[in-house]
């Protein structure tokens, strides 16, 4: 545990909003407001918080999809610059999105979809691309027959697997998972989370795992960060957070989580 894989230092992401007479004034939505943390190689950092608190913005800022307003993000101890090093950085850090229906280009077959990053970045020699695609599919538990099909022919869970396979194509070290299971059925959620875990074991991946379901985060994360209104209000191991929450918001969050056991009706009894 020497240099962290990812270091986020005082990161701010503000969205300018034009207001006032003639839209001449600019005010800002402080979506991410002075956030700092580190993720070490092979670890999973869970990120929870209420809707709109800036989780996705933070994830997208890290992968360079949103411009950094202020602060610094280091990868492997080196500052990242997406303007100049997009190509090499894309091989280090990837993202899996929440909505399995909108994250795959509906006009491409799964084969093309997975081959594209391989060809663009020359990951494998041309003649091995098909093999590599098959391997990727197998890695996420899909069969080769998926290649010729289009995304709409798959169920949500399967699409999410394809999304993961695509993220893995460039053999990244860090994957940002932006609520990758929220849109899925309970039974499918479990499949996908197991897949994440299995891949981490096999490939030594590092995750920033965003979720708003506490159960999922707890299950998958080594450490958990709780975000509230653009700031990280509490961070610690899953056990620390769940057993001994410090911040008011964390306590509220835990208190609101419905426990799947009818004998412990916490919400209704709490009042």
């Amino acid at each position: 545990m020497d240099t962290p894989l990812l270091t986020v230092k005082n990161v701010k992401t503000y969205y300018p909003v034009k207001t006032g007479f003639m839209n001449l004034q600019t005010s800002y939505v402080r979506a991410v407001d002075d956030v700092s943390f580190e993720i070490y190689e092979g670890e999973t950092l869970g990120l929870v918080g209420e809707s709109g608190c800036g989780k996705s913005t933070l994830g997208r800022t890290i992968i360079g999809l949103e411009p950094l307003t202020d602060g610094e993000i280091l990868f492997d101890g080196k500052p990242m610059n997406f303007r100049t090093d997009r190509v090499s950085l894309s091989k280090q850090i990837q993202i899996v999105f929440q909505d399995p229906y909108s994250s795959l280009n509906p006009r491409l077959t799964i084969g093309d979809l997975l081959a594209e990053p391989l060809t663009v970045h020359n990951i494998v020699p041309r003649n091995e691309i098909q093999q590599e695609v098959t391997r990727l599919l197998q890695l996420v538990g899909l069969s080769e027959t998926a290649k010729a099909r289009y995304p709409h022919e798959f169920s949500g869970g399967q699409r999410q697997r394809i999304g993961i396979a695509r993220a893995l194509a460039l053999r990244p070290r860090l994957i940002i998972c932006d609520e990758p299971v929220s849109a899925l059925d309970v039974s499918i959620q479990a499949q996908i989370m197991n897949l994440f875990k299995q891949l981490q074991r096999e490939l030594g991946l590092t995750y920033l795992f965003i979720a708003h379901g506490l159960g999922a985060v707890k299950y998958i994360s080594d450490r958990i960060a709780v975000m509230y209104a653009g700031k990280i209000v509490e961070m610690g191991t899953a056990e620390q957070i769940f057993k001994n929450p410090q911040h008011e918001y964390t306590k509220k969050l835990l208190g609101a989580y419905p426990i799947p056991d009818p004998t412990k009706r916490s919400i209704l009894t709490q009042q």
Partner: protein, 304 residues
């Protein structure tokens, strides 16, 4: 409960399963199926196919050279001239067949040009946003601010009327609508996760624009284009009415129809206007029906 867990543990995770079960989803042929539901569109499609063949094989099918002046001046249908002859003795049937070439190429050509310009500008405006978007949108404002016909009139008088010029003019003037449409779509698609994923995967901007965004706006462009084809055929007809259409002796349905502007012809020589009139009507009608069916068949909300 540990027992149940054992059951599941024993089962090795079966990946094949997942795919097999959804295999029966009827996705192939769905487009055709949806399209076929619009019976009138199917009829329109066959009609258009026939017209297209007629246009292509006009030299083989036409009994006369369309510009040949025969001795029969303004005569009604007969065995020699199935649809009669016009005021200067040309065979109407032959002219209508050749006119199909002109009218269809005006329709298709103009729309192709408009779609090409509109799609590229719309893509650029929508994707890059900001000042570029502002400038392009102001340009579309400028273009849309010209009264359509007036612009055509002036440009036609510069480059001179004629088939190619009509196509170019209608094409060059038709793009703002498509540009706006594409831009709107791009704005939405740009936000979609698969474009974000493309960026994260380090794809180049042209690749994202043309491989990921453009194909996903094809459906609306296609739908818009069908009504554009119909519109261009009608516009050419209107231009012929104003004397700025395709140049004689070439025939277009529009100039054949507009030469029937006299009550005498209307009453006494219906063979001069009924054939081109019917062809315009049916063609435009067919194209519109097809456009509507396409709209339905390509509706992304139907494709899950």
């Amino acid at each position: 409960m540990s027992l149940f867990k054992r059951y599941f543990n024993k089962k090795k995770y079966d990946a094949e399963h997942t795919v097999t079960w959804s295999e029966d989803m009827p996705s192939k042929g769905l487009f055709l199926k949806r399209f076929k539901r619009h019976k009138l569109a199917v009829i329109g499609f066959f009609y258009l196919a026939i017209i297209l063949l007629c246009a292509i094989f006009a030299p083989l099918l036409a009994p006369y050279n369309p510009n040949e002046i025969t001795d029969a001046f303004g005569e009604g249908p007969s065995m020699a001239h199935w649809l009669g002859t016009d005021d200067i003795g040309r065979d109407i049937l032959s002219r209508v067949l050749y006119a199909a070439r002109v009218s269809l190429s005006v329709g298709v050509g103009a729309v192709a040009i408009a779609a090409a310009i509109g799609a590229v500008l719309g893509l650029i405006a929508g994707y890059f946003g900001g000042i570029i978007d502002g400038i392009i949108m102001r340009i579309t404002d400028v273009f849309m601010s010209f009264p359509y016909i007036m612009f055509i009139l002036v440009v036609a008088s510069i480059v001179g009327p004629g088939l190619t010029n009509i196509i170019i003019i209608l094409g060059v003037l038709g793009w703002p609508g498509i540009a706006r449409l594409v831009r709107g779509n791009v704005l939405a698609i740009k936000q979609s996760d698969y474009v974000k994923a493309g960026i994260a995967l380090g794809y180049s901007t042209p690749r994202i624009l043309f491989k990921h965004i453009l194909p996903n706006t094809i459906a609306p462009i296609l739908i818009y284009a069908t009504s554009g084809v119909a519109g261009a055929i009608l516009d050419e007809a209107a231009l012929s009415f104003l004397g700025l259409g395709v140049q004689p002796p070439d025939a277009s349905w529009g100039n054949m129809l507009s030469s029937a502007q006299s009550i005498t012809i209307l009453t006494d020589q219906p063979w001069l206007w009924i054939p081109p009139g019917i062809f315009i009507l049916l063609t435009v009608l067919s194209i519109n029906y097809i456009g509507d069916a396409l709209r339905d068949a390509l509706d992304p909300r139907n494709v899950k």
